[in-house]
C-alpha cells in the first residue's frame, strides 16, 4: 500500500507515492537521491540524518515521510546551494573540521540552527548543542573551533 505525498524539498514541490513506513531520510535518500542526508543509527541518537522541517532541525530517521506532507524540507544540498551555510562551510574547511565527512551534513545543520537561535554561544554551549551529533573521526575540537570562528566573524560582520 502506498499513500500520496506532496511536500516541498529545497524549494521544489514534490509529488510521490510512498509506503507509510518509509522514513523521511529513506525517502530523501532513496527516492529523491538526496544522499547528503546520512544514516548512522536510525534511532535518533547520532544526528547524521538531520534535515530542516519547516525551518526546524528534525531527525530524518525518526520522522515518517508522510508526516512531512505539506511541509517544507531543507536538506544539506539545498542549504549548501542557497549559500546559507557559506561561512560555516568555509570555517569547517579552513579548520579541517571533518575527516570522513559522514557526520558533516548533520554537524552543519546543528551549527546553522544553533546560530539562528542563540546569538553568541560560548564554547561550552557549542559543545552542548553538538551533544546529539556523533563524530568518530575528529574528536570534535575542530568542529567547535569552526563554529566559534563563524560566530566571531558574523559578529564582526554585523558590527562593521
Amino acid at each position: 500500500m502506498t499513500l500520496p505525498l506532496h511536500l516541498t524539498v529545497n524549494g521544489q514541490s514534490v509529488a510521490e507515492h510512498v509506503e507509510p513506513r518509509t522514513s523521511l531520510a529513506d525517502f530523501l535518500r532513496d527516492r529523491l537521491r538526496l544522499t547528503g542526508t546520512h544514516l548512522g543509527c536510525e534511532m535518533g541518537v547520532c544526528g547524521a540524518c538531520l534535515v530542516l522541517l519547516d525551518g526546524k532541525p528534525v531527525h530524518g530517521c525518526l520522522v515518517l515521510a508522510v508526516q512531512a506532507a505539506g511541509s517544507e524540507v531543507q536538506t544539506i544540498e539545498g542549504l549548501a546551494e542557497s549559500g546559507a551555510l557559506a561561512d560555516l562551510q568555509r570555517a569547517f574547511h579552513e579548520r579541517n573540521a571533518l575527516q570522513c565527512g559522514y557526520c558533516t551534513p548533520g554537524m552543519l545543520i546543528t551549527a546553522h540552527s544553533l546560530l539562528e537561535t542563540t546569538p553568541a554561544p560560548d564554547r561550552g554551549e557549542i559543545r552542548t548543542a553538538l551533544s546529539g551529533n556523533f563524530c568518530r573521526c575528529t574528536g570534535y575540537e575542530s568542529i567547535v573551533d569552526a563554529i566559534a570562528v563563524t560566530i566571531e566573524r558574523r559578529a564582526e560582520g554585523a558590527g562593521a
Binding site: T35, H38, A80, L85, Y102, R127, R136, G139, Y140
Partner: protein, 786 residues
C-alpha cells in the same frame, strides 16, 4: 629537479573536504545501480548452538523476494578461509564459511540470506524463515575457558587456546629477586568496537558476459579484497575490480573479511545482478569486529632509587570463536606484550600471551592495535612505583626513559628503535602544561574538596611496517605501495596511488609531496585513490603507513617524472638535463633560475609533436614507481600525553578538563592534518577509557548493542587537546616521515587512568579496569575507604 620543499610541511587544506561540506560525498551506502537488489540476513539468536531445522520455503514466496540462500547454495560458491600466520607458530583457528552450516558460533552469526527488491522486503522475509537450534553451552569466561572439561567454542577445536607465546630475557628472575621494590596489579580492559559512523557497505556486481566482478566496497584495503575475492571465488584477479570511494570511517574495522560482504559477492555471482548490503547499526554491533578485551597480570621490579629493572606480564585476550581473516586476531596481543615498557631503559622482561576463544563477535585489529594495553599497564605500574617510592610521576619517567643519545637500540622484546626523543618530548610537555603550576592548583583545590588529577603517559607507536608484519607469515598483504605519476598534455599533474583516503588527508599530502618534486602547486596535482583498476597495487591504509610509505612512493615517482621531464626538455633545448630544474610550473636553468620551457609546452611537445624530438628520446610522460620499506622493520614514533581531570567523589563522574600530546612523527608533511589525526585518535582512546564497553551476559548475549545503549564520546564530554611536536625524521627514507594515526589512541586511556587515580589518591582508591564508569569509581572509593 625542484630543490625547495615549498609545500611539504605546509598546512594545505583538503580539497576533497569541499564535496562533503556541500553534501556531495559519494559513499558506497549512497550507491544505486540498475537492477540492484538488497540483502538482509537471518542471524543466530544464540551464542552457540547446533542447527536442527532451517526452513526458508515461506520466505521464498514473500513479496519482493528474488532469492533466499542457505549455506548449501552460498558456501558452495566460495572456498572456506582459515586464519593463520606462519610466524605465529602453533596458532589454531577453525575454517570459516559464508553462512553457518551446522553450528552457530556467536549471537549474530548469519544463517540465511534473503535478496529482495528492497531492504525492507528482505527484512520482512527473514521473519518468515524457520530456524531451530539446539543450544550448546556458550564459552564466555576468561581463565575458566582453559580448564579441563570446559565447553569448546567451536567444533573441531581441541581447546579454547588460539595461541600462546612467551618472550623472556635471561635475567628476569634475577631482576625480580634483587629488586628493592616490586609493584603489581591486575588490569582489565573492556571489549569495545570501532562504531564508524557509516556502517559497513558493499555493492557487488557481476557481469557474466565479460566475466567481470566489480565490488564497490567501503574499505581501507581494496587490493587485499581484490585478492581475497579472486582467490576465494576462483576468479582471475584482473577480472576483479574493487572500488572504495568515500568511506565513512574505517579505523582498521573495514579491513577484515566479513561473512556479509562475501555473501553479497556470492549472490551476485549466482544472480547476475548487483547485490547491496549495508549493515544497520544493530547489525554493526553484532558483526563488526570488536576489540581489545584484555586481562593482564603485571609486575614491575625497581631498584632502591626507582630505576626500572624488569617487567613480568601475563596477558589473556579473548577474541571470539575463531581468529579473523586475513590478518589474524593474534596481532593485537602480540603487539600488546611486545610494547610493554617500550619507552624505558628496562633490561629484563617476561611476557606471556594467551589468545582465547569465546562465543562472541570476532575481535581483531582496531586503531592502535595492542598499544593502549601496553601503554596503560606500563604507565599504571610506573605511577604505582612513583607513589611507593615517593618520586614525582614526571621525574620517575625522566629518569627511566631511554635517553635521546642512546639510539639506535633494541627493546628487551626485540623491537629495534632507530631514533626516538623521549627526553625532549617529556621536557616539552612539562613546559606546555606548566606542570608545577598544575600541581600547585591541585593541592589548593584539594583543600577545598575539589579532586583533580594529573596523569602522564609516555608511549611508543609502531608505524611504517615492512613485510615483517604480515608478509613473512605468508599472508597476501602488501607492505609496498605503488604510484603512477604523469604530466598531462596541458602541463598539469596526475597521481594515481595505492594508499587510500578515509578522511586523513592522504590525497592532500600526496599532492604536496608530488608538487614539490615537480615544482608545481598542490592544486595542480590531482590524486586518485581507492580503485584497483586505476591505481597500482599496494598495501593501502593500515598500521600508519600512508604518509611514511605511500609518501615515499609518491616522492620517488615524482622525482622519476621530474627526471623524465628534464630529459625531454634537455632534448628540446639541447641542454644537459643536469643543468635544468623544475620551478613554478616550468623547466628553468638550475643555476640562474631563468625559465626555459613551461611544463605545458613539455606536455604539448611530448604528446602532440613527438616527431620533433631527437631520435631515441623517451617521450613517456607517465612514470610508475613502487616502494617497499627497507632498513628498520618498523618506523617507531614516540611521544607523551597528559590528562587533567576532575572527579566528583560523590557521583563518580569524571570531567575531562584538558588533554595534551607531544608527538614525534618524524618529518611533518601537513601540520594541520597531523594535529587532527592526533585529536581524533585521542578521543578514540578516551572513549574506551571512560564509556565504551560491549557488555555480554553469561549466555553470550550482547546487552547494549545499539547506539542508544553503547556510550560513545560526544562533544560535550570531550576536552580541548593541545599538541606539541618534536621532529626526528627517519633516515630510512628520503622523505623522513613516519606515521601518526594511532599515536593519540595509544596513550590517551593511560593518561586519563593515571589522572583519575591521581585524583583519587587521597582516598586510597585505585582503578585498574576500563572503562572507568561512575559505578566502578564509586566502588573503588568504597574499597579505598573500607
Amino acid at each position: 629537479m625542484s630543490d625547495r620543499p615549498a609545500h611539504i610541511g605546509q598546512p594545505h587544506l583538503r580539497h576533497n573536504a569541499l564535496r562533503h561540506l556541500a553534501g556531495r560525498g559519494a559513499y558506497v551506502s549512497d550507491l544505486q545501480l540498475p537492477r540492484m537488489l538488497h540483502a538482509a540476513f537471518l542471524r543466530s539468536p544464540m551464542a552457540h548452538g547446533l542447527i536442527t531445522a532451517l526452513d526458508v520455503e515461506e520466505a521464498r514466496t514473500a513479496p519482493g523476494v528474488v532469492a533466499v540462500f542457505t549455506a548449501a547454495e552460498l558456501n558452495a560458491r566460495c572456498k572456506s578461509w582459515t586464519s593463520g600466520l606462519g610466524h605465529f607458530a602453533g596458532m589454531v583457528s577453525v575454517p570459516q564459511n559464508i553462512l553457518a552450516e551446522r553450528e552457530v558460533l556467536w549471537a549474530g552469526h548469519p544463517v540465511a540470506m534473503v535478496v529482495a527488491r528492497s531492504r525492507a522486503e528482505a527484512e520482512d522475509a527473514c521473519e518468515r524463515i524457520l530456524l531451530d537450534l539446539d543450544e550448546l553451552e556458550p564459552v564466555s569466561g576468561v581463565d575458566e575457558v582453559l580448564l579441563p572439561g570446559a565447553p569448546l567454542a567451536a567444533d573441531g577445536l581441541e581447546s579454547n587456546l588460539c595461541f600462546r607465546t612467551e618472550l623472556k630475557t635471561e635475567g628476569v628472575a634475577q631482576a625480580f629477586a634483587r629488586a628493592a621494590h616490586v609493584v603489581e596489579g591486575d588490569y582489565a580492559f573492556g571489549r569495545h568496537t570501532p562504531v564508524t559512523l557509516e556502517p559497513r557497505a558493499v555493492v557487488a556486481d557481476y557481469t557474466p558476459s565479460s566475466g567481470q566482478l566489480t565490488v564497490h566496497h567501503g574499505t581501507q584495503t581494496p587490493y587485499q579484497f581484490q585478492d581475497i575475492y579472486a582467490r576465494q571465488f576462483g576468479l582471475p584477479d584482473h577480472k576483479v575490480r574493487v572500488i572504495a570511494p568515500d568511506v565513512g570511517g574505517s579505523f582498521g574495522m573495514k579491513l577484515h573479511l566479513y561473512n556479509e560482504e562475501m555473501a553479497a559477492v556470492a549472490a551476485t555471482l549466482i544472480l547476475h545482478r548487483p547485490v547491496r548490503f549495508v549493515a544497520d547499526r544493530l547489525e554493526s554491533f553484532v558483526s563488526d569486529i570488536h576489540a581489545r578485551e584484555h586481562h593482564v597480570r603485571a609486575r614491575m621490579a625497581l631498584d632502591a632509587d626507582g630505576t626500572i629493572l624488569a617487567m613480568d606480564v601475563e596477558d589473556r585476550t579473548p577474541i571470539g570463536a575463531f581468529s579473523a581473516y586475513p590478518r589474524t586476531s593474534v596481532v593485537e596481543g602480540n603487539q600488546s606484550i611486545r610494547l610493554m615498557g617500550a619507552p624505558y631503559r628496562m633490561p629484563d622482561y617476561r611476557g606471556e600471551l594467551k589468545v582465547l576463544f569465546q562465543n562472541k563477535v570476532q575481535a581483531s585489529q582496531y586503531r592502535a592495535v595492542g598499544h593502549p594495553i601496553a601503554c596503560q599497564v606500563t604507565e599504571a605500574l610506573v605511577d604505582q612505583a612513583a607513589a611507593l617510592l615517593n618520586i614525582d610521576p614526571w621525574e620517575i619517567r625522566a629518569r627511566n626513559v631511554v635517553p635521546d643519545d642512546a639510539y639506535p637500540c633494541t627493546s628487551p622484546t626485540g623491537y629495534q628503535f632507530e631514533k626516538l626523543s623521549h627526553e625532549k618530548s617529556l621536557r616539552l610537555l612539562r613546559e606546555m602544561i606548566d606542570y608545577d603550576g598544575l600541581r600547585r592548583d591541585q593541592a589548593e583545590l584539594r583543600n577545598a574538596g575539589i579532586h583533580r588529577g594529573i596523569g602522564l603517559a609516555t608511549f611508543v607507536e609502531i608505524t611504517n611496517p615492512g613485510a615483517a608484519f604480515y608478509g613473512v607469515g605468508g599472508a597476501r598483504i602488501s607492505a609496498q605501495d605503488g604510484a603512477v605519476v604523469r604530466l598531462t598534455p596541458g602541463g598539469e599533474v596526475h597521481c594515481a596511488i595505492s594508499v587510500t583516503e578515509q578522511g586523513q588527508g592522504t590525497e592532500t599530502i600526496m599532492a604536496q609531496i608530488v608538487a614539490d618534486q615537480l615544482g608545481v602547486n598542490p592544486d595542480q596535482v590531482k590524486v586518485t585513490t581507492g580503485d584497483t583498476d586505476t591505481t597500482p597495487s599496494g598495501g593501502a591504509a593500515w598500521a600508519c603507513r600512508g604518509a611514511g610509505i605511500g609518501g615515499e612512493t609518491a616522492l620517488r615517482a615524482g622525482r622519476k617524472l621530474a627526471r623524465r621531464i628534464a630529459e625531454i626538455a634537455g632534448a628540446v633545448l639541447q641542454a644537459d638535463p643536469d643543468t635544468l630544474a623544475l620551478r613554478d610550473g616550468a623547466v628553468v636553468d638550475a643555476a640562474t633560475g631563468v625559465e626555459r620551457l613551461t611544463l605545458a609546452e613539455v606536455g604539448r611537445i611530448a604528446t602532440y609533436r613527438p616527431e620533433t624530438l631527437p631520435a631515441g628520446t623517451d617521450n613517456s610522460l607517465s612514470v610508475a614507481q613502487h616502494f617497499a620499506p627497507t632498513g628498520y622493520p618498523f618506523g617507531f614514533t614516540n611521544g607523551v600525553q597528559a590528562a587533567l581531570v576532575e572527579v566528583d567523589v560523590e557521583t563518580g563522574m569524571v570531567r575531562l578538563l584538558k588533554h595534551w600530546v607531544v608527538e614525534d612523527c618524524g618529518r611533518i608533511i601537513n601540520p594541520l592534518l597531523v594535529d587532527e589525526q592526533i585529536r581524533g585518535g585521542v578521543v578514540q582512546g578516551l572513549g574506551p577509557a571512560l564509556f565504551e564497553e560491549c557488555l555480554y551476559d553469561e549466555n553470550g548475549q550482547l546487552q547494549n548493542g545499539s547506539l542508544a545503549d553503547y556510550l560513545v564520546p560526544m562533544a560535550c564530554e570531550m576536552p580541548d587537546i593541545i599538541i606539541g611536536h618534536v621532529e626526528t625524521p627517519t633516515e630510512d627514507t628520503i622523505l623522513g616521515a613516519k606515521g601518526v594515526g594511532e599515536a593519540g589512541t595509544a596513550a590517551a586511556g593511560a593518561a586519563v587512568m593515571n589522572a583519575v587515580n591521581d585524583a583519587l589518591s587521597p582516598f586510597g582508591a585505585r582503578l585498574m579496569q576500563t572503562p572507568m564508569t561512575p559505578a566502578r569509581i564509586l566502588a573503588a572509593l568504597c574499597v579505598g575507604q573500607g
